[in-house]
C-alpha cells in the first residue's frame, strides 16, 4: 500500500520546522519514517501535512558533555549502536539500539523518532526511562527539558506539544552493571516483553510492552532499595501493571515473563 495524499514541507532548520508545525493543521514530523510511514501506508494514519526533518544534520550527533552524553534526535539506531563514546559511557544504549528492528531499519530509524512515537512496545524509550535521561524539546517559545519519567503519558502519547520537536536526548553516564533482556518470537519483532536494568549505586529497571507506555518497575526498585534479594524483588515485577493481551501473549503470560526477565536482567546487571 501507499499513503493517502499530504502536503510536504522540507524543513531547513529546527526553527523552520517549528514554524511549519505551528502554522499547519494536522502536521506530523517525518524523520527516518520507520514508525510513521508504515501506519500511513496501511492508512491507519493520514496526516494532512508532513514536515521532513530527516536532512537536518545539526540533529545527528553524539557528544560528550561531561556528566552526560548528548545524543541528537536524528541520530540513527545504527549510529547509536556503533558509537564508541556511547559504548564506553552508556553501554546499554548502543546495545538496545542494536536490537531495534533489523539492520536496514536501523540504517534509517532514529532515536528521536522512536522516543517521540512513544510506543510502549519499543526498545529505546524503555532504555531512556531506565537511564533517567533528559529530553530536550524545542517549540515556538524556545527550548525546554523534560525528564524521561514525565515524557510518556499514554498510548502513543507524549509530553511533546503539537508544535514541538524533540531535538536531543541527554543520557547520564554510568559505570555500573546493566542488562537488556528482549523476549520475542522472531528477531525482527517488537519485544513481547523487554527489561532494561541499570545499576549505578541504585538499580533502575524499566519494562517494555508491559503497559500502554514504557514504564518503570517501581515495585522491584523499591524492593531492592529495601534490601530484597533478586529472587524476591523480581517476583513483584508485574505488580500493579495492566499489560496488554495480543496475538503473541496474554496479559498473564506477560506478567510471568516480566518476572523471569527482570530476574535475568538483575542477575546480569548486579552480577
Amino acid at each position: 500500500m501507499f499513503p493517502a495524499s499530504f502536503d510536504f514541507f522540507k524543513a531547513s532548520s529546527v526553527a523552520d520546522a517549528v514554524s511549519i508545525l505551528s502554522r499547519e493543521d494536522d502536521a506530523k514530523l517525518l524523520a527516518g519514517g520507520h514508525s510513521l510511514l508504515p501506519l500511513m501506508k496501511l492508512r491507519l494514519a493520514s496526516p494532512a501535512v508532513l514536515v521532513d526533518i530527516s536532512a537536518l544534520e545539526e540533529l545527528a550527533f553524539v557528544e560528550d558533555k561531561g556528566d552526560y552524553v548528548a545524543v541528537g534526535a536524528l541520530t540513527r539506531h545504527h549510529d547509536v549502536a556503533n558509537s564508541e563514546l556511547l559504548k564506553s559511557a552508556v553501554p546499554i544504549l548502543p546495545f538496545v539500539a542494536s536490537k531495534v528492528g533489523d539492520p536496514s531499519v536501523r540504517h534509517r530509524g532514529t532515536i528521536g523518532g522512536s522516543i517521540a512515537h512513544g510506543d510502549g512496545a519499543s526498545d529505546l524509550p524503555a532504555a531512556i526511562l531506565a537511564l533517567d535521561s533528559d529530553l530536550v524539546a524545542v517549540g515556538p517559545d524556545g527550548e525546554r527539558v523534560i525528564q524521561a519519567k514525565d515524557f510518556f503519558l499514554g498510548f502513543l502519547e507524549t509530553a511533546l506539544r503539537p508544535n514541538e520537536i524533540l531535538t536531543e536526548i541527554r543520557v547520564p553516564k554510568f559505570s555500573g552493571g546493566w542488562s537488556y533482556q528482549k523476549f520475542n518470537r522472531r528477531a525482527q519483532d517488537w519485544a513481547i516483553v523487554g527489561v532494561a536494568a541499570v545499576h549505578n549505586g541504585s538499580t533502575k529497571i524499566s519494562l517494555v510492552n508491559m503497559a500502554s507506555t514504557p514504564i518503570r518497575a517501581s515495585a522491584v526498585e523499591a524492593a531492592l532499595a529495601d534490601g530484597a534479594s533478586v529472587e524476591v524483588a523480581s517476583g513483584v515485577a508485574s505488580e500493579g501493571l495492566e499489560p496488554p493481551s495480543d496475538l503473541n501473549a496474554s496479559a498473564d503470560y506477560r506478567r510471568h515473563l516480566a518476572q523471569v526477565l527482570v530476574k535475568r536482567a538483575l542477575t546480569e546487571a548486579l552480577g
Binding site: 500500500m1 501507499f2 493517502a4 495524499s5 508504515p38 496501511l42 492508512r43 523476549f183 518470537r185 522472531r186 528477531a187 525482527q188 519483532d189 513481547i192 496475538l247 503473541n248 501473549a249 496474554s250 503470560y253 510471568h256 515473563l257 523471569v260
Partner: protein, 793 residues
C-alpha cells in the same frame, strides 16, 4: 543412480549443475508480473468486504466515479451478465457435493472478510485504490460461523440455500468390520485429536494479472502470476465465455506459489471480463495485506485419529475422522485437499485395517485450498504424533516402535489397506541413517544428563518418518476420484538445424529450476552440452498442452515426458543415420553426439549432420518426414511414493516456554536425483515451511470473522535468524513407475517437519507430563502446558 539410459560418456544427471535461471533473477533482468508494462493500461483495485457474513443492501459507486483518474466502477450486480459460469471447482469429490455459486464479485451476500464487492478501474494504481475508499456499501449483517464443530452442527448456515454447512462427506473404509474387530480386540488404543491450524501460504511475490486485449482481432493475452497457465486458460474460457482459440495465457517469472497460485481467482476472471468490456488492457497487483485474505489459505482441519495396536506396539488399525474447513466457497481444488492425505494416515507402516472419513464444512472465512503438501502434511502429522504416543504408552523408544511397524522392503510393490500401491520403498536403512547422522544415543544421554542435573533447558528429540504420494496419475484413477483434470504431461523435443535442442514442456516452474533439470535430462541422453538445450514453458501459445506444476509432479511426470520425447526423436535420427551409413538401425550405437556402426567406430555420422539433413530433407529414407521433432504425452501408471526420516532436536526454556530448534537432520529418499543441489534446495525450503507451521504461523480470526494478522508484522513468517542450518542425507530407491526412476521432492520437507518438531517439543516436555502441544507451539502455549502440570501436582 541406477538404470538411467544415457548417450553420454560424461553423465550430467546426478551432478550439481548450476542453474541457468539464476543470472536473470540475480540481476533484476527477470520480469515478474508487476514488472510488465503496457501502454494505455487501466489499473484495477477491488473493494473488499469488511464483514464476514452480510447481505449487500446497496453499493453506491457515484462518489468513486467522480475521483480523478477513475474510468469505471462496477458492483457485483453491475457485472451479473458478464460471465457465463461461476468460478470453477474442479474436484467435486462426491456426486452430491454442495457447491454454492461463486462469482468474482459478490452481488447479494458476502461470505468472508475480503470477499470482493466492487471494482475500480483508473489510469493509475494510486487513483484506483483511493477511489475504492469512496464506494459506499450498505451491509445488513448476518450471523457468522467460524468454528468447525459449530459449522458442522448447522446451528447457523453460511449458505442458507444449501440447507446445511456440510459440503460433502467422503470416506475410504474398505472393510469396516475388520476395523471394528481390530479396535475391539486391541491391547492398546491411542485416541488423539489434532488441530491443523489455518496457514497463509505467503509466497513472497503477491499475485497479479495483466490482460492485454486486441479488440479488433478479438484475441486476449493474459499474463498471470500463476503456477497453472494451461488450466487457467481452459477455466477462463469456460467462465468468461471467450473461445480458447482467442486466449493466450503466459506465466512470467513467478515469485513462489506453494499451492497458492494453483487456482482460478476472481481477479483473473475480472481482469479478462473488464478488458473485454472496456477494450483496454487491465492490470492488477495484490497488496500483501490483501493477499492474506484474497488468496487461499492452507490446512484448517480438526483431526480425530485412533490407532489400535497389539501388546508389542504393532499397529492393527487406523481410524480417522477429519473435519475440514472449506471457508466461504469452494475454490479450484478445495474439497480434494484433505483427500490427498486420506489414503496415507497409516504412514509408512504395515497396517491391515483402515478407515478414513472427511467432512468438508463451510465457514465465513477465506476459502482454503492446496498449500505445500496438501493433505499429506496433515496425514503425516496425525500418524507420526500418534505413533509417538503409542511408543510412550507401551514404553518403547520412538525409533523402535517405527522399526516394528515399517512395511518391510520385501513387500514392495505394497498394496495398502486403503487401496494404493506403493511403488518402492526401503524404510529401515533410511531411518538408521538419520539416527546415525543425528547421533541418537549421544543426544539421548545428553538429555538424561540434563534431566538428572535439574537443568531448566530441556532437550527434546523428535522423529518423523513419512511417505507421501506425488505425481498424481494415471488419469483414469484421477477420474475415479472425480478429479476434473488428467495426470499426464506433454513434452516436445526438437533438434534444430544447427543441432541445438529445443524442449517444450507443459510444466510451469516458479523456482524449481526446470529449465536446468530438463536440459540435463536431454543433455545426458543426446550426449550434448546442457547449454545447447533450450527449455520453453509457461506460455500456452508455445506449449499448447500442459497440466502445469503442483503436487510434486513436474519431474516424475513432465521430466519423464521430456526423456521419452528425446528417446523418440533420437529414434527418428537413428533411422536417418542408418540410411546415411547404409546400415540397419539396430546395428547402430549412439554416443556423445554420433551414431556409429557397432564394431566399426570409423563408420559414423554426427547428430549435427543428421539434424541438418532432416532440415533440408534432401536425402531422407522413404517414408521419413523432414525435421527432427517428437512429442510425447505421458500418463504414468501410478503415483510415486517418496519417503524419509526427519529428526528435530529442540531446547525448551522452562522459564519462558521458548523453543529453540538446535538441529535438524533429514534423510530423504526421492528416488534418483537429477540435480542433487536442486533437490536439497527443495528440501531446505520445505523443512523451513513445516517448522514455521509447527512453531510460528497461524491465521487468527476474532469472533466476528476478522483476520487479526494479515501483515508480516503479525503473521510470523520466520527469518534466517530463527533457523539453524539443516543436515541433509539421502537414500536412493528408484521408482519403477517412470523411466527416470524419480519420485518427487517439492513438498517432502513440509510434510515431514511439523511432526518432527512437535514430537521433539513433547519429548522435551515429557518431564512435565505434557502429552501434546497444538501448533503453532508458541512460547505461551508451552508455558501454559508446564503451568497446568505444576498446578496439577
Amino acid at each position: 543412480m541406477t538404470a538411467l539410459i544415457t548417450g553420454s560418456s560424461e553423465r550430467v544427471t546426478g551432478t550439481r549443475l548450476l542453474r541457468r535461471e539464476d543470472p536473470k533473477l540475480l540481476t533484476g533482468e527477470a520480469k515478474f508480473i508487476d514488472d510488465i508494462t503496457q501502454q494505455d493500461v487501466l489499473y484495477m483495485a477491488l473493494l473488499r468486504s469488511p464483514m464476514a457474513h452480510a447481505r449487500i443492501d446497496s453499493v453506491d459507486t457515484s462518489a468513486a466515479m467522480k475521483m480523478p483518474g477513475v474510468v469505471a466502477v462496477f458492483s457485483g450486480a453491475d457485472l451479473k451478465g458478464d460471465w457465463v459460469a461461476p468460478m470453477p471447482c474442479a474436484w467435486p469429490v462426491t456426486a452430491d457435493m454442495k457447491n454454492p455459486p461463486h462469482y468474482p464479485l459478490a452481488a447479494d451476500v458476502v461470505n468472508y472478510v475480503g470477499d470482493a464487492v466492487a471494482v475500480v478501474l483508473a489510469s493509475d494504481k494510486l487513483s484506483a485504490i483511493d477511489a475504492t475508499e469512496r464506494i459506499v456499501v450498505k451491509y445488513e449483517s448476518l450471523p457468522v460461523v467460524l468454528d468447525l464443530q459449530d459449522a458442522a452442527s448447522d446451528r447457523v448456515l453460511v449458505h442458507p440455500d444449501l440447507g446445511t454447512n456440510t459440503s460433502f462427506v467422503w470416506e475410504v473404509t474398505p472393510d469396516k468390520a475388520k476395523v471394528d474387530h481390530a479396535f475391539a480386540t486391541a491391547v492398546h488404543v491411542v485416541k488423539s485429536r489434532y488441530i491443523q491450524q489455518r496457514l497463509i501460504p505467503s509466497a513472497m511475490e503477491p499475485r497479479g494479472v495483466l490482460v492485454v486485449p486486441q479488440p479488433y482481432g478479438g484475441d486476449y493475452t493474459v499474463f498471470s502470476s500463476t503456477q497453472i497457465p494451461h488450466i487457467l486458460k481452459v477455466m477462463l474460457s469456460l467462465t468468461v465465455g471467450i473461445s480458447e482459440t482467442k486466449l493466450r495465457v503466459i506465466a512470467p517469472s513467478v515469485g513462489g506459489a506453494f499451492g497458492s497460485k494453483l487456482n482460478i481467482y476472481s481477479e483473473e476472471v475480472l481482469a479478462l471480463t473488464l478488458a473485454r468490456k472496456l477494450h483496454r488492457p487491465i492490470r492488477w497487483t495484490e497488496e500483501r495485506s490483501e493477499n492474506a485474505q484474497a488468496t487461499i489459505h492452507g490446512r484448517g482441519q480438526l483431526q480425530d485419529i485412533d490407532i489400535a495396536a497389539d501388546e508389542n506396539g504393532k499397529i492393527l488399525a487406523v481410524r480417522v475422522n477429519v473435519l475440514a474447513d472449506m471457508g466461504g466457497y469452494l475454490q479450484l481444488l478445495t474439497p480434494g485437499v484433505p483427500l490427498l492425505g486420506g489414503f496415507l494416515y497409516h504412514g509408512l507402516y504395515d497396517v491391515p485395517a483402515y478407515s478414513f472419513t472427511c467432512t468438508g464444512v463451510f465457514t465465513n472465512k477465506t476459502p482454503t485450498d492446496a498449500y505445500r503438501g496438501a493433505g499429506r502434511p496433515e496425514a503425516t502429522f496425525a500418524i507420526e504424533r500418534s505413533i509417538d504416543r503409542l511408543a510412550r504408552k507401551i514404553g518403547v523408544d520412538p525409533a523402535e516402535i517405527r522399526r516394528r511397524n515399517f512395511i518391510p522392503a520385501e513387500k514392495f510393490p505394497y498394496a495398502s489397506a486403503p487401496g494404493l500401491v506403493f511403488d518402492s520403498g526401503n524404510y529401515l536403512p533410511n531411518l538408521e541413517k538419520a539416527l546415525e547422522m543425528v547421533g541418537y544415543p549421544e543426544i539421548r544421554s545428553e538429555q538424561m544428563k540434563r534431566r538428572s542435573g535439574g537443568s531448566k533447558k530441556h532437550l527434546g528429540v523428535g522423529l518423523s518418518c513419512y511417505v507421501e504420494m506425488c505425481g498424481l496419475a494415471p488419469s483414469k484413477v484421477l477420474g475415479s476420484l472425480r478429479y476434473a483434470a488428467g495426470g499426464w504431461e506433454s513434452a516436445t523435443v526438437r533438434i534444430l538445424p544447427t543441432s541445438k535442442v529445443q524442449v517444450v514442456t507443459g510444466t510451469a516452474p516458479h523456482g524449481q529450476g526446470h529449465e536446468t533439470s530438463w536440459s540435463m535430462i536431454v543433455s545426458d541422453r543426446l550426449g550434448i552440452a546442457p547449454d545447447d538445450v533450450e527449455v520453453l514453458h509457461s506460455d500456452t501459445s508455445i506449449a499448447p498442452y500442459g497440466l502445469d506444476t503442483y503436487g510434486s509432479r513436474s519431474l516424475s511426470v513432465g521430466g519423464s515426458a521430456v526423456f521419452m520425447a528425446t528417446e523418440k526423436v533420437l529414434g527418428k535420427a537413428r533411422q536417418i543415420a542408418a540410411h546415411k551409413l547404409e546400415a540397419s538401425a539396430d546395428d547402430l550405437d549412439y554416443k556423445d553426439g554420433s551414431f556409429c556402426v557397432k564394431g566399426s567406430p570409423d563408420k559414423a555420422v554426427a547428430l549435427s549432420t543428421i539434424a541438418f539433413e532432416a532440415f533440408t530433407g534432401h536425402d531422407l529414407p522413404e517414408g521419413v518426414e523432414p525435421n527432427l521433432e517428437a512429442t510425447v504425452t505421458w500418463d504414468p501408471p501410478n503415483f510415486t511414493f517418496p519417503f524419509g526420516t526427519h529428526i528435530a532436536v529442540v531446547e525448551i526454556d522452562e522459564d519462558t516456554g521458548a523453543t529453540e530448534l538446535l538441529r535438524y537432520v533429514a534423510v530423504d529418499d526421492v528416488g534418483n536425483q537429477i540435480n542433487p543441489m536442486i533437490v536439497e534446495g527443495q528440501i531446505h525450503g520445505g523443512i523451513a515451511q513445516g517448522v514455521a507451521q509447527a512453531l510460528f504461523e497461524e491465521a487468527v480470526y476474532d469472533g466476528s470473522g476478522n483476520l487479526l494478522n494479515p501483515t508480516f508484522t503479525d503473521y510470523l513468517v520466520p527469518s534466517a535468524a530463527e533457523y539453524p542450518s539443516f543436515e541433509l542425507g539421502s537414500t536412493v530407491t528408484p521408482s519403477p513407475t517412470n523411466p527416470l526412476g524419480v519420485k518427487g521432492v517439492g513438498e517432502a520437507g513440509c510434510i515431514a517437519s511439523p511432526p518432527a518438531v512437535i514430537n521433539a517439543v513433547v519429548d522435551a516436555l515429557s518431564d512435565f507430563g505434557v502429552e501434546h502441544v497444538d501448533m503453532p507451539a508458541s512460547p505461551e502455549k508451552i508455558w501454559t502446558a508446564i503451568q497446568s502440570f505444576r498446578r496439577s501436582r
